[in-house]
């Protein structure tokens, strides 16, 4: 009698354990496949009681062919089913099904501890491997950063040290040209001209190297001030317009229709204008026109430089602003450059909180755009700007339209060159 009582007590304790605490699934399913009783573990997996629901609906059945009779009578082999869970990640349980006396079915499912252990050891191994890889990667990154800093330093020192002898070449070739005009033959004077031109070209390239090494070293400091865009643009275009006139190219500036002040570093932004114009000039021929325009939106002012050069394919447009990339049709020998001009443009514009892009079709010239924020970007930015989210082509189209809509009479293009 005592043994019987003890056995009943053990049964009761085991049932309580299975129903309330154990990490196994215990379900009673009726003849129509509905769940009549569940244990706490099943409720925890489902995120609530599943009593009254179909058992088939609790498992992932890709083929929609679940039939519980296939798994009866009870087999020694468990059946694998993936149980849906409330957090969306299914879990695998191995089920045994037992038919009860009243035609109901007891389903008991448990996880495979061996599989879980295998997964754990694989994940620990992978985690160790990835940690070691990350360590190696960080070491390589640190070494590359040191190398990059050395490269920038070398760039700067080399450019600086070459400048000194170059100044001597420039100075004495100019001196010879002015002081010995009478004594030199015309071909000798022509040679002197080549020396001077080459020295000037090399000086431009060195200046680009110096600028770029400063930018790359993260030492670009902007001295920004509120600037009236109209006189500033006219001044900024002047140096390039002199070069253009020598080449027989006309630079046309559309007068801006807005007296807004822009918060910019005038010297650096003038470099942007000159680099863009220099680039346009490189690919222009005598008789061509380069058009400089300004467009206005509520949030940005956009400067565009349009040339009549050979144009740029869509694939090549993507790489234009990378350093040392020359994707245009070849410029003339005398107009070789460092390959840094557009990269410098991008660095300066980005430092102003602006953006730069190009639109072009092969054979139809190219238009470079520089968009600068109307407000100082040092002010904390708000949410995502809708203007910026639209396609860049659309921005330019909208801006064009806006510029025309805003003025009763579209302003006539005006050349900055003396007529």
């Amino acid at each position: 009698m005592k043994t019987l009582q003890t056995n009943r007590q053990i049964d009761r304790l085991l049932i309580d354990y299975v129903m309330c605490e154990a990490a196994v699934i215990a379900l009673v399913i009726n003849a129509s496949g509905k769940i009549e009783q569940t244990n706490a573990h099943m409720d925890r997996l489902a995120g609530g009681s599943v009593v009254g629901r179909s058992f088939a609906a609790q498992i992932i059945d890709f083929h929609d062919t679940f039939d519980i009779d296939k798994y009866l009578p009870a087999s020694e082999r468990p059946f694998l089913f993936n149980i849906k869970t409330h957090h969306g990640l299914p879990q695998t349980y191995y089920f045994h099904f037992h038919r009860l006396l009243d035609d109901k079915i007891l389903a008991i499912g448990q996880q495979d501890a061996g599989e879980t252990e295998n997964m754990r050891s694989t994940l620990v191994g992978l985690n160790n491997e990835l940690n070691n890889l990350t360590r190696q990667l960080q070491k390589k990154t640190a070494a590359l950063e040191r190398l990059d800093a050395q490269k920038n330093q070398f760039f700067g020192i080399a450019a600086h040290d070459i400048r000194q002898p170059l100044s001597v070449i420039k100075m004495f070739s100019e001196f010879l040209d002015t002081e010995t005009t009478e004594q030199l033959s015309s071909s000798h004077r022509e040679f002197l001209g080549y020396i001077r031109k080459s020295a000037l070209l090399m000086e431009d390239i060195l200046n680009d190297f110096l600028d770029f090494s400063v930018f790359e070293a993260g030492q670009l400091t902007l001295h920004k001030s509120p600037t009236d865009i109209t006189p500033w643009l006219a001044q900024a275009v002047l140096p390039s317009s002199m070069l253009a006139s020598q080449k027989g190219v006309e630079i046309v500036v559309t007068p801006p229709n807005d007296g807004s002040l822009l918060f910019i570093d005038t010297s650096k932004m003038a470099q942007v204008v000159n680099n863009l114009l220099g680039n346009a000039l490189k690919f222009s021929h005598s008789g061509d026109r380069i058009v400089v325009e300004l467009f206005f939106s509520d949030t940005e002012i956009v400067l565009s430089v349009q040339d009549q050069g050979p144009g740029i394919s869509r694939e090549n447009q993507q790489r234009l602003f990378e350093p040392f990339v020359r994707l245009h049709a070849a410029p003339r020998l005398s107009e070789k450059s460092s390959g840094l001009g557009l990269a410098i443009v991008k660095k300066i514009v980005t430092a102003h909180g602006g953006r730069v892009w190009v639109e072009s079709e092969p054979g139809q010239g190219a238009t470079f755009f520089v968009a600068l924020p109307r407000t100082d970007p040092a002010t904390p930015a708000g949410n995502v700007n809708k203007d910026r989210l639209t396609n860049k082509n659309q921005v330019s189209t909208l801006l064009r339209k806006k510029a025309i809509d805003n003025s009763q009479e579209p302003p006539a293009p005006k050349s900055v060159l003396p007529q």
């Binding site: 890709f62 083929h63 059946f79 694998l80 089913f81 993936n82 969306g88 990640l89 299914p90 879990q91 695998t92 495979d112 599989e115 879980t116 295998n118 997964m119 694989t122 994940l123 191994g125 992978l126 491997e129 990835l130 890889l133 694939e315 090549n316 447009q317 993507q318 790489r319 990378e322 995502v384 809708k386 910026r388 989210l389 639209t390 396609n391 082509n393 659309q394």
Partner: protein, 210 residues
């Protein structure tokens, strides 16, 4: 191409969770100078498809499937020095999974195929909320957005994600792919302009090359 015998050995090791044997088989293929794209499609993709089928047929467990995926992801990282060495063409792609989608390896392999073809690719990963995706696209300005979907139950989330992205970026080209489309969703996807379905890594590769 991957030999059938090698594939069978690899799949067996993958299902047993034998990481070191999988690694050795891949190393042997690399030593034999197999094309990385063949390795991706003929070994990694096909073996994971097989793993997925076995899971769907209740032949293997979630744990086995996760181990197989984790082993494959680990092997992919061994190939990165080769993948990232490709000459870049200046184009950018963003690849992501939608919110609630935790299966990321398909998307990762798609990102790698883009890299192999010279694209700069950002792979954002599993379970990416749509707001984060919008911010990232705005930041990066990609030419293409790729969305990967493994579970059909997440199809509505995908379609909502595309609608949100489209409201911000009207002309961004979007393509989708993943095992979820075996169960439907193509009709709805085709109704959204500028959106394309790419059925496999092989088709993606062909599309990028052409």
């Amino acid at each position: 191409m991957v030999d059938e015998k090698v594939f069978a050995l690899y799949l067996e090791a993958l299902l047993k969770g034998n990481r070191s044997q999988c690694g050795q088989l891949v190393d042997r293929l690399l030593e034999a100078d197999i094309d990385i794209k063949d390795l991706y499609t003929g070994l990694f993709q096909d073996s994971l498809y097989r793993v997925g089928e076995l899971w769907e047929n209740n032949t293997i467990s979630v744990a086995t499937e996760h181990v197989a995926t984790a082993i494959t992801e680990g092997l992919l990282s061994r190939l990165y020095p080769r993948i990232f060495a490709a000459e870049h063409c200046g184009k950018k792609a963003v690849i992501s999974c939608v919110a609630n989608e935790w299966h990321q390896i398909g998307g990762k392999m798609v990102a790698d195929i883009f890299e192999l073809n010279g694209w700069d690719t950002d792979f954002i990963g599993a379970n990416t909320p749509v707001d984060d995706l919008v911010r990232h696209i705005d930041l990066v300005g990609p030419d293409v957005l790729g969305l990967s979907l493994s579970l059909y139950s997440n199809m509505e989330v995908l379609l909502q994600t595309i609608a949100t992205i489209r409201s911000h970026f009207h002309e961004l080209h979007i393509f989708c792919g993943g095992q979820a489309f075996r169960w439907g969703g193509l009709e709805k996807l085709r109704q959204i302009t500028g959106t394309e379905y790419i059925p496999s890594l092989h088709v993606l590769e062909q599309t990028l090359v052409n």
